[in-house]
């Protein structure tokens, strides 16, 4: 969460709770609610590494709050982040190892493994559909996040289908 927080601070100074709210608003219900404690911890680390600086602001009826702003080093780190393409998503290697090793173990059947995994993906897919239906229609970013997750799952399901086609022929 380090770089998303830096990116939010690129707009202007903010305190931890504001950042949490900004993230929630941007990503909608699709994104698991960020834990405010985790945000404070991350902000502490970012400050230690000199990417942001915090300033205590006095509040009349509450303890001081710390308002953070981006440093030049932080802005540079952010720029580098945007300039780099990201790694490809990982293939589900744990399931793949199960599938590959099932026959020789004699403890599991490959087709049953595929069916079990498919049920899992389909249930997740259904939850994503429900999430999409519940999400504010105007929140495009949230919808794109959900749609991306669904398309990834779709690809995983297509791949399971290929596994099943290939492995059933061997039976």
């Amino acid at each position: 969460m380090r770089l998303p927080l830096l990116a939010l601070l690129a707009r202007g100074p903010a305190h931890g709770y504001e950042l949490k709210q900004d993230l929630e608003q941007l990503l909608g219900s699709a994104y698991p609610q960020p834990n405010v404690g985790q945000i404070y911890v991350t902000l502490g680390r970012l400050e230690k590494s000199g990417l942001i600086e915090g300033e205590d602001v006095a509040q009349s009826s509450r303890p001081n709050k710390k308002v953070y702003h981006l440093t030049d080093a932080g802005r540079e780190a952010l720029r580098a982040w945007f300039e780099e393409p990201e790694d490809e998503p990982r293939v589900r290697d744990e399931f793949f190892m199960k599938l590959a090793l099932a026959p020789q173990s004699g403890l599991a059947d490959q087709i049953s493994l595929i069916n079990q995994q498919r049920r899992q993906y389909l249930n997740t897919m259904r939850q994503l559909s429900k999430l999409a239906a519940a999400e504010d229609r105007d929140n495009r970013i949230a919808h794109l996040l959900i749609e991306g997750a669904m398309l990834h799952l779709q690809a995983d399901l297509d791949w399971l289908e290929r596994c099943q086609e290939e492995l059933e022929e061997l039976e």
Partner: protein, 251 residues
């Protein structure tokens, strides 16, 4: 032991269908038992060529099985003639296809009203039904358009209206989003879900897992056979694994 549950809308036993074309015979459906209860939304999914469309055609009486039996609302279809099946498809089974199959030289309004008129509905009533459905499907104002003037997504909505105009107890859908883009797929999904929530029984054939996940039961079809038949729970997502893991940003 008595079973108080209502008779299945659709039941099939031992269905077999082999296509004899050029080359080796293709065993499209190789012994399928299936039961769909009222109000269920069932998706049949599998790779192309697995025989799932053939299965749907058998269940809608568009093709005849080589072996096996089909019951509609508990009534055996063994002795049905082509004409009898056609009447069933008008009144009790609505069907939507991948390529919409709208009548290209009839307006949107006429496409939707035609099956109602053929089923003996009065013109006034057919018109009222059509108006209501088109409004519901967001097509008000398109009544006079010809199918060719509409986008793929709009044509599929017209096809859905046509399939539902006679309030059939069963809706069969054969790859209804197969020729639509991602956005169009989402639209079809939303509409099927909405009709299902109102009690419409739906049997959907699709290779699209997103569409399939709108159903509460997913049948995986491989090589002419049912490989798996799973009820989707769709309950609340587990806190850490599953859905939140799929969506989570990495630390």
């Amino acid at each position: 032991m008595s079973d108080d549950r209502p008779a299945p809308v659709l039941r099939a036993e031992g269905l077999v269908k082999t296509h004899h074309g050029e080359g080796a015979p293709a065993h499209a459906v190789r012994g399928v038992d299936l039961s769909v209860r009222p109000g269920e939304f069932v998706a049949i999914t599998g790779p192309s060529g697995a025989g799932k469309s053939t299965l749907l055609h058998l269940l809608g009486g568009l093709q005849r099985p080589d072996a096996g039996r089909i019951w509609l609302d508990g009534e055996s279809t063994d002795t049905y003639s082509e004409a009898r099946w056609a009447v069933k498809r008008r009144k009790r089974i609505g069907i939507v296809f991948q390529f919409f199959n709208l009548v290209s030289n009839l307006s949107v309004a006429d496409n939707v009203e035609l099956p109602a008129l053929l089923a003996g509905t009065s013109p006034k009533r057919a018109r009222a039904e059509r108006e209501q459905l088109l409004a519901e499907l967001g097509l008000t104002g398109k009544e006079r358009s010809m199918p060719g003037e509409l986008s793929g997504g709009e044509q599929q909505r017209v096809a859905l209206a046509r399939a539902l105009v006679n309030h059939p107890p069963l809706l069969l859908a054969d790859e209804p989003a197969g020729s639509l883009d991602s956005k169009g797929t989402r639209e079809v999904m939303r509409l099927l879900t909405r009709f299902h929530q109102r009690g419409q029984t739906i049997l959907l054939v699709t290779h699209d897992a997103r569409l399939a996940s709108a159903a509460d039961r997913v049948i995986s079809f491989f090589d002419g056979r049912i490989a798996d038949d799973a009820e989707l729970d769709g309950g609340t997502p587990p806190r850490r694994a599953g859905i939140s893991g799929v969506l989570e940003l990495r630390d």
